[in-house]
């Protein structure tokens, strides 16, 4: 019974996908109902499992999928605390976002298509979460990438959306193939790809390919979780519908990269040379993305950079050995960032614009949206006792305890910037005076605001299980199977974290609420930094010049080469053969054939002479016959 329900978790959304994609026209408006029902049911299947896992049970099962030489590749499921945490996030957030989508996507001509894709995504994400080995994990990982591609380009008539989907798929694909080679490397090193067997297989194993595999897994994470230097696709991915941004590009799929590191954590532990790399990548990403977010003016892009930054936090935490910190931040981030995106979607839905420079003063008109958005912003800024405070504090304290003060300092600075740009967003959007009077803001329908409130509850309270008030229940739950990342509460870290959060809010309030002129002055004062931020470090441009154009150029050059050189050789051979043929032809025509014609001409000449004998007069012939007979008789007589 339990096993069946485990299979149903990914299969129900898959069935919803099949129904919606194949019978989209017939299903019509019911598509949303089918998708929501499927994910609600998988949520119901998952919840008892999560409770059971919390009670100390583990679930695993497998079946043979493929023979690899002497090895066998078995697919199956593994539900341990880590998977249960993610299940908790994905099923609930996923369901809520789909409910929200019914309002947001209302009246779209491709309504059923949208829900089909989302269901496929849910199915893939849930498969990824409960997968027991890397190959199944990879399969789900790629299908998620496909869904992301399809949903970013959902409004494909817009060129920007179509390009963004392409960019997202290709950028993550680079990470994905690295991940694939990483899988091969790990397989070559330890001979198994099942998560549960990693620790056993890695014990005492110092194969040279293990760090290689870890590094390549990191590349996978860099692609999927939009870490530096492959983060460029995520801001563009905001071209997709907002619920998609919330579900895929904030809460779940982009977190899969972090989940990958957490899932293969034994591999990373076993390769100490790679861990600092993980941390450094994460730190660079966290800082850089927050820095860019400072000047972004598109409400969704601010959130996108914020997502990149927060993912950087998680990666840093994992790189510094903070397994629980990273995972915990993943969970809380999923809730508050989904909430932020849905709130942003509600603003866009209500006002029709997503440029924060045109917004302002809509607090009164969109109360539910504004209040929930504010809760989420407080959570991400790290104001106690909201969830973000606890998880960010965990990350910071793991950085502090690792002894790497530079990373700690950068993360603290990033936390400051986070609270600043978030409240810049909040103040510019909801407070102050309305800047554009064309906009008539109205509150979104209940189908959108109810999920906002539910998520707000999650964003507010989910930090508590990890708080000292509940005896760090979450940490013990998660580390049951792993060597811990336990830290004593450090009052200094906590105080600094609260300090920067409040400082950021205060600065934002000063600059955007009380003394608006200050923002322009600051921009002029730090012009180089401002330029760096607003041009996003010119990374897109660098890639365009250094990678994309050369690649296309290589293609063109090789095509020329193919046409001219390779095909030229073929045609050249043909031409030479033809030339040889022509020479032979000449020879044949004038010498060989000449001889033949000569014989013919001679025969003709001779026959021209001799045919005169043939007179056509019978009597001539008869005379000759007669004379012939006479001659014969003469000779006969003689002998």
């Amino acid at each position: 019974m339990v096993t069946t329900s485990i299979y149903l978790i990914p299969l129900l959304p898959l069935m919803a996908f099949a129904v919606n994609i194949l019978f989209g026209k017939k299903v019509g408006k019911q598509a949303s109902a089918i998708s929501i029902a499927s994910s609600l049911l998988s949520c119901l299947c998952a919840l008892p499992l999560i409770v059971a896992v919390a009670g100390g049970r583990r679930f695993s099962g497998e079946w043979l999928w493929l023979n690899l030489g002497i090895d066998q590749l078995k697919f199956g499921y593994l539900i341990d605390p880590l998977a249960a945490t993610l299940l908790f996030v994905v099923t609930i957030v996923g369901t809520l976002i789909q409910i929200y989508s019914t309002g947001y996507m209302h009246g779209d001509p491709r309504y059923s298509r949208f829900f089909a894709y989302v269901s496929l995504f849910m199915s893939a994400m849930l498969t990824l979460v409960i997968a027991n080995n890397l190959v199944l994990f990879f399969i789900a990982w790629e299908i998620m990438g496909l869904c992301s591609y399809l949903l970013i380009g959902f409004w494909f008539e817009k060129d920007s959306a179509a390009n963004a989907g392409l960019k997202a798929f290709l950028t993550t694909r680079i990470g994905d193939v690295c991940f694939l080679i990483g899988i091969f490397s790990l397989f070559a090193a330890i001979g198994t790809l099942e998560f549960a067997k990693f620790e056993g297989a890695l014990k005492g194993n110092s194969h040279v390919l293990i760090p290689v595999a870890a590094l390549l897994f990191l590349c996978g994470t860099i692609g999927k979780s939009a870490q530096f230097p492959l983060h460029v696709w995520l801001p563009d991915a905001m071209e997709g519908p907002t619920p998609v941004s919330a579900l895929i590009h904030a809460a779940t799929m982009v977190a899969a990269g972090v989940y990958l590191i957490a899932r293969t954590y034994p591999v990373f532990i076993a390769s100490p040379a790679i861990m600092p790399v993980v941390a450094i990548i994460g730190t660079i990403t966290a800082f850089m993305a927050a820095f860019i977010a400072l000047t972004a003016t598109d409400i969704k892009r601010v959130l996108a950079y914020s997502t990149i930054s927060q993912l950087g936090y998680m990666v840093t935490a994992l790189g510094l050995g903070g397994f629980t910190a990273g995972t915990f931040h993943l969970m809380t981030h999923a809730y508050f960032k989904a909430l932020l995106f849905l709130g942003a979607g509600s603003v866009i839905h209500g006002t029709g614009t997503q440029d924060i420079r045109n917004l302002g003063g809509i607090f009164g008109k969109m109360k539910s949206t504004a209040i929930t958005f504010l809760i989420a912003s407080l959570a991400i800024a790290g104001v106690p006792p909201l969830s973000g405070f606890w998880s960010k504090d965990e990350v910071l304290s793991s950085a502090f305890h690792s002894g790497n003060m530079l990373i700690y300092a950068i993360l603290l600075l990033t936390a400051f910037m986070t609270s600043f740009y978030m409240f810049r967003l909040v103040f510019l959007t909801f407070f102050g005076k309305a800047r554009d009077h064309q906009i008539h803001a109205h509150e979104s329908p209940n189908s959108m605001t109810v999920p906002l409130w539910i998520l707000a509850v999650g964003a507010a309270l989910l930090g508590l299980p990890a708080s000292p008030w509940l005896h760090n229940w979450f940490q013990t739950f998660l580390t049951a199977g792993h060597a811990g990342g336990e830290h004593e509460i450090n009052r200094m870290v906590m105080a600094s974290s609260i300090g920067v959060a409040l400082g950021g809010i205060l600065l934002a309030a000063v600059m955007y609420l009380w003394v608006p002129a200050l923002a322009g002055i600051a921009g002029k004062l730090f012009r180089p930094l401002y330029w760096l931020s607003i041009h996003k470090f010119w990374i897109d441009e660098i890639y365009d010049v250094c990678l994309i154009r050369p690649f296309l150029q290589i293609g063109k050059i090789l095509y020329k080469f193919d046409e001219r050189a390779v095909d030229g050789c073929v045609n050249g051979t043909g031409w030479i053969t033809l030339l040889g043929g022509k020479m032979h032809n000449w020879c044949d025509h004038y010498i060989v054939d000449g001889l033949v014609n000569f014989v013919g001409a001679l025969t003709q000449f001779l026959s021209r002479v001799t045919r005169r004998l043939q007179t056509g007069l019978i009597q001539n012939y008869l005379l000759i016959i007669f004379l012939g007979v006479l001659i014969l008789i003469y000779f006969e007589m003689r002998s």
Binding site: L68, G69, I143, F156, E157, F551, D562
Partner: protein
């Protein structure tokens, strides 16, 4: 035991072709249906053979043998094993679908279907013959109808393409003929019989020379870089169903030759040459990918993607291990279904718009949603999306080649990224973006066209989700092949 299903499979199309000769040319409808029914009958026979085939056995099954030319010890020898069965199934399937896909051809239908069925006989014979002499005859038999099919029903440069195809492959197969004759005279007693030949062991130097001779014949057919330039021309000029056959079946004849003849006959030479094969494979993968990236002609892009994808087959062959072999053979099958489908889709678009220039399109996803969905499906399969068949074979090939050489694997992976790039850019150019109003009245894909594509889609999905279904037919044969070559099992 002495069943004659294989002969029936080979000669049923020929019988159909002869029957068509007796139908007056005005009865187009009858001719079409005779051809379709013939291919369907072959399909049923193939199903029967699949049912008779014992997947656990490694050796040849359903062997048919009789003396043909006793003076030269030539036999009419047929047999099927785990290597040829997937190819026969693929040929039969593609033939049925391409035949239905041919209904759009309106001129000189009688000759078309006659040549088409003769072609099918040639292809099936190539995959089933175990006597080198017989094999060579079927191999050459394929060329003739193909030449006419491209040269008569092709595009604007059809004569050039047809002649190039014919002469190029003929030149290759002449080297192959020399190799076959060398084998005949080197064996004691003189024989063309593959099974008897494998019992001979040849000197290493001789092996290498003959390997090279056969290699030329096979390499041109695959085609392996740098022998590939006939392919884009032939593909672009050939009518759609013939492109499908060309990509789906004909290219496989080359790699099949490696599996069937080169490897078991010259184990030492194969091991000696395998690094060079790997290099050619990787060059083909990356090079084909790059060139495909530069194309603006939809069909030419698919043609070059074939060069890239067939590179994976060669890479798997060069890896000389079970995973590589499994992957290579599966990739042959998958490439047939996927690229066959892509060519059908190119044809669907070309029939409507009379253009293959990708830059001329845009936003067709809004006008032809079903077509768009199917095209995206095949593109995803081609770029190796997990869950679809292309992934499985590329995964196995790369896993195999990883055991063989890390460097080549890493380089080959670039080909996967390139595949994603050129296919998605193609989708971007054709389906996405603003709709060009010129195309706003293009009719949606018709039911007949969907019917030709659905079987392929189902197969791609099934193999992608549960590859053991087809792999368990192949694995025993391939493992045995590997053992006879003295390779490792893993």
């Amino acid at each position: 035991m002495n069943s004659q299903y294989l002969s029936w499979i080979i000669f049923t199309p020929l019988a159909g072709a002869l029957l068509i000769l007796f139908i007056p040319r005005s009865l187009n409808y009858t001719i079409k249906w005779i051809a379709t029914v013939t291919t369907l009958v072959v399909g049923l026979l193939t199903l029967k053979v699949c049912q008779l085939f014992d997947p656990t056995q490694a050796g040849f099954q359903l062997i048919e043998k009789c003396v043909w030319i006793p003076q030269f010890n030539v036999h009419y020898l047929l047999g099927i094993d785990g290597i040829s069965l997937p190819m026969v199934v693929l040929t039969t399937l593609i033939s049925i679908l391409a035949c239905v896909g041919s209904f759009g051809i309106k001129e000189r239908q009688k000759e078309y279907y006659f040549l088409y069925l003769v072609l099918q006989t040639g292809m099936l014979g190539t995959f089933l013959a175990l006597d080198l002499f017989l094999f060579y005859i079927f191999w050459e038999l394929v060329l003739v109808p193909m030449y006419f099919l491209i040269g008569i029903w092709g595009g604007p440069r059809k004569e050039y393409a047809a002649i190039k195809f014919f002469l190029y492959t003929l030149a290759g197969s002449l080297f192959m003929l020399l190799g076959i004759l060398a084998l005949y005279f080197a064996s004691t007693p003189h024989t063309f019989n593959l099974i008897e030949l494998t019992h001979n062991s040849f000197a290493a130097g001789f092996q290498r020379i003959v390997f090279l001779a056969l290699f030329l014949g096979f390499a041109i057919k695959v085609p392996i870089f740098p022998f590939h330039t006939w392919l884009p021309d032939a593909h672009v000029e050939a009518p759609t169903p013939i492109s499908v056959i060309l990509a789906g079946v004909l290219l496989k004849m080359g790699t099949y030759g490696f599996f069937r003849f080169s490897y078991p006959l010259f184990p030492e030479a194969s091991r000696w040459f395998s690094p060079y094969l790997a290099v050619l494979a990787v060059v083909g993968i990356v090079y084909g990918g790059f060139v495909a990236l530069a194309q603006t002609d939809f069909k030419k892009m698919v043609a070059y993607s074939s060069v890239s994808h067939m590179g994976f087959v060669l890479l798997g062959l060069a890896a000389l291990n079970t995973n590589g072999f499994n992957g290579a053979l599966l990739q042959m099958f998958n490439h047939g279904t996927i690229t066959g489908g892509l060519f059908l889709l190119v044809g669907v678009l070309y029939d409507r718009a009379h253009s293959r220039d990708m830059l001329a399109f845009g936003g067709l996803g809004a006008v032809m949603p079903v077509y768009a969905g199917i095209l995206i499906f095949f593109s995803l399969a081609s770029l190796g999306l997990p869950g679809l068949s292309g992934f499985i074979s590329e995964f196995l090939v790369l896993l195999g080649s990883y055991q063989f050489s890390l460097l080549w694997t890493v380089l080959a992976v670039v080909g996967i990224i390139l595949a994603a790039a050129y296919l998605l850019i193609m989708i971007r150019k054709i389906l996405l973006g603003k709709l060009n109003p010129k195309w706003s009245h293009l009719p949606e894909i018709s039911l007949r066209e969907i019917l030709t594509l659905v079987p392929l889609m189902v197969l791609i999905l099934i193999v992608g989700v549960y590859p053991r279904l087809i792999l368990h037919y192949m694995t025993p044969t391939l493992s045995t092949l590997l053992q006879t070559m003295g390779g490792s099992a893993s």
